[in-house]
């Protein structure tokens, strides 16, 4: 076990955003949570003291929900984001000690990146996009064209090299992104949710293709995703992140048979997503929001414009009052009842941090989308039955 070939070693890496970083470090040292630190010092902790090793020729997957800090971690690895503290060793050498020229050289030859929304240059055609890295490091025209063509063939885009990026589908664009990253012949490939913007069928193809390319070229890959199925399919090693910290690093088998805690277990058990996702992940802004002083005519117009049959009523302080249904609004207009009496009060509400599993009984009984309020009873969003159900699939 000791003769592992470690290409990247990350040692107690932290990334904080804000002015008063040293105070924030002290608070973290005392074991305070991320939210509390943000409240007291105004510093956002994106990544908190994480360490891991990446083995040469393997795929290392970082998985976490949005806001868990995984994108920040991957941007520290090529110093697009300088870490606040900690160290990053590439082949045993700290990349934080690189001078300007060494850093450029590192990015040009050792490490390259694939982006979630592709990051392609629309003013260049496919070939010139793929050749970008070679152009930057000063390769001559003939060399970069032949090398770029090789990569274009590798990702199966032969015949498209002269096309504009705008003529390509999403899957094809990401193939260009991968070809561009491979053209430099880097040792490490950083992939920041590369397939998240693609539809599921294309995503499956691309995952398969990545595996076959990786087998062929034997590159080291650091891969970021929020999809546990993708993580287990691709990863030799998987690290789960939550709130800027790594909770568990293991092989997919090891993690499945021996999850570190309930969070990991719930994450893995993708049949039970209701245990991982909370209301804030699925809530939406209400499409029809009216003030209690607005009156029934305005409410009717809003409902008609938005094509919905109920409106959410808030008072002047944006505190949630109740729901006005289409039927009741019509009654008010006909003079049968007063506007304030027509509002259905005491409808079920929930808060952002409630788990979907706990919301299920409420959602099952609810007539309308459930209002989400904060501690001060302000309306922050709504949760529809459809979004509850689709979060479980």
């Amino acid at each position: 076990m000791n003769n592992k070939d470690i290409i990247l070693k990350i040692e107690s890496l932290s990334k904080l955003y804000g002015v008063n970083k040293s105070a924030a470090f002290n608070m973290l040292g005392k074991g305070m949570g991320k939210n509390q630190v943000a409240k007291e010092s105004g510093v956002t902790v994106a990544v908190n003291n994480i360490s891991f090793e990446v083995e040469r020729g393997k795929i290392f997957v970082l998985i976490g929900l949005s806001g868990s800090g995984k994108s920040t971690v991957i941007r520290c690895l090529n110093l697009l984001q300088p870490p606040t503290s900690g160290d990053i060793l590439f082949e045993g050498k700290s990349i934080l000690g690189f001078n300007k020229k060494e850093l450029l050289d590192f990015r040009r030859r050792k490490i390259s990146m694939v982006f979630q929304n592709f990051g392609l240059m629309a003013h260049r055609n496919v070939l010139d996009n793929v050749a970008y890295g070679l152009e930057i490091r000063g390769a001559n025209r003939a060399e970069r064209q032949s090398r770029a063509m090789e990569m274009i063939k590798l990702v199966g885009l032969e015949g498209w090299e002269g096309k504009n990026i705008s003529q390509l589908s999403g899957g094809m664009r990401q193939r260009v992104g991968i070809a561009r990253a491979l053209a430099n012949d880097p040792d490490v490939l950083l992939m920041d949710e590369p397939f998240s913007a693609l539809d599921p069928l294309v995503r499956r193809d691309m995952q398969f293709e990545l595996l076959s390319i990786q087998k062929k070229l034997n590159k080291t890959v650091v891969f970021i995703t929020h999809d546990i199925n993708e993580a287990f399919k691709l990863g030799n090693t998987v690290a789960i992140m939550k709130d800027g910290e790594i909770i568990q690093i293991d092989t997919p088998e090891g993690m499945t048979s021996n999850p570190a805690n309930d969070y990991v277990e719930n994450f893995i058990n993708s049949a039970d997503k209701a245990q991982i996702y909370s209301v804030k992940h699925i809530m939406q802004t209400p499409s029809c929001l009216i003030h209690s002083r607005d009156g029934a005519n305005y409410a009717l117009k809003q409902m008609r414009d938005q094509g919905v049959s109920s409106a959410y009523v808030v008072d002047d302080n944006l505190e949630f009052v109740g729901i006005l249904t289409l039927d009741n609004a019509v009654k008010v207009k006909a003079g049968k009842t007063a506007f304030l009496d027509a509002i259905t009060r005491n409808t079920p509400t929930t808060t952002e941090d409630v788990l979907i599993s706990d919301l299920l009984p409420v959602a099952a009984a609810a007539q309308f989308p459930i209002a989400v309020t904060d501690a001060d009873h302000h309306l922050t969003g709504i949760v529809t039955k459809a979004s509850v159900l689709s979060s479980l699939v």
Partner: protein, 290 residues
């Protein structure tokens, strides 16, 4: 009620008139060789542009406008219309005056681009220069354009050279603003990609940011041209020749027809140049769309 609450107290006096007068006077007295040099350089620049404008025969310019309109929009009717409008300027007997006006406008626009484009890049790349430049640009754009005429005359005399300077000051802000805006709005992931592949700042500027910002930068060029054309009549008050002078003369003599002929010619030039440059902007946006 005391009087100072009703009328603004005359005891309070802020005299910036004298300060500005003294400053301009100081420049006139002590910097004369410098402004003479500037005048000389600009005069030869103007005469070279004038030479190029004059050398193009009238029919060639009309054919060029026809071909360009066709290339930009693929509409035969529009190409024919613009050619006919341009022809009508000649038919009104204003062709050579139009050439003079074009010379001043082109010179001002070239100087505006040469200064405004690098300044725009500078403003886009540093927040501090942005903070410094913004109030200056706001002032330049809201200052009544006549005000620029006075120092231009004092420092450079009468004629087309001070007209070019006044026009440049008036027309340069959109060039700076839109260059900066265009570069700032380039998709962050694309800029990140450029950096991730080891581009130096210069490389990512030249190879990624400027090409991606080009449609916006061209919109800046378009606005700069329009503003330069709108200064044509104003500048005739400090002795700029061409169509603007024609308008000024007809105001003095109350010759309505003569004034309108020149005015309509200016409008025609503005429309043709505006549509052509906008067409180019649109084409650029289409290829840049993802």
């Amino acid at each position: 009620m005391p009087e100072w609450l009703i009328e603004f107290p005359s005891a309070i006096q802020l005299n910036i008139k004298d300060a500005i007068d003294n400053f301009v006077h100081y420049l006139v007295v002590n910097w004369e060789p410098f402004f003479d040099g500037v005048t000389k350089v600009l005069r030869s620049f103007l005469s070279q542009i004038g030479y190029v404008v004059e050398i193009i025969p009238w029919w060639l310019l009309i054919v060029l406008v026809f071909l360009l309109t066709w290339k930009v929009g693929r509409k035969l009717s529009r190409a024919l219309l613009y050619s006919a409008l341009l022809f009508s300027i000649g038919a009104m007997g204003l062709w050579s005056l139009m050439n003079t006006t074009l010379t001043i406008v082109i010179a001002s626009v070239i100087i505006s681009i040469l200064i405004g484009f690098p300044l725009g890049i500078l403003v886009s790349s540093s927040n501090r220069s942005n903070v410094i430049m913004r109030p200056i640009l706001d002032t330049m754009q809201t200052m009544p354009s006549f005000v620029y005429l006075i120092p231009a005359v004092m420092l450079l005399g009468l004629g087309n050279v001070p007209a070019v300077i006044a026009t440049t000051i008036y027309a340069i802000p959109p060039m700076i603003r839109l260059t900066s805006h265009g570069i700032r709005q380039v998709d962050n992931e694309v800029v990140e990609a450029a950096r991730a592949f080891g581009s130096t700042r210069w490389q990512s500027l030249i190879k990624v940011q400027i090409p991606q910002a080009l449609p916006t930068i061209m919109a800046g060029v378009n606005q700069t041209i329009m503003m330069a054309i709108s200064m044509v009549v104003t500048c005739s008050m400090i002795g700029a020749t061409g169509l603007g002078q024609e308008v000024l003369i007809s105001i003095n003599r109350l010759e309505t027809g003569r004034g309108f002929s020149a005015g309509i010619s200016i409008v025609i030039i503005a429309i043709i140049i505006d549509r052509l440059t906008q067409g180019i902007v649109k084409k650029g946006e289409e290829t840049n769309e993802q």
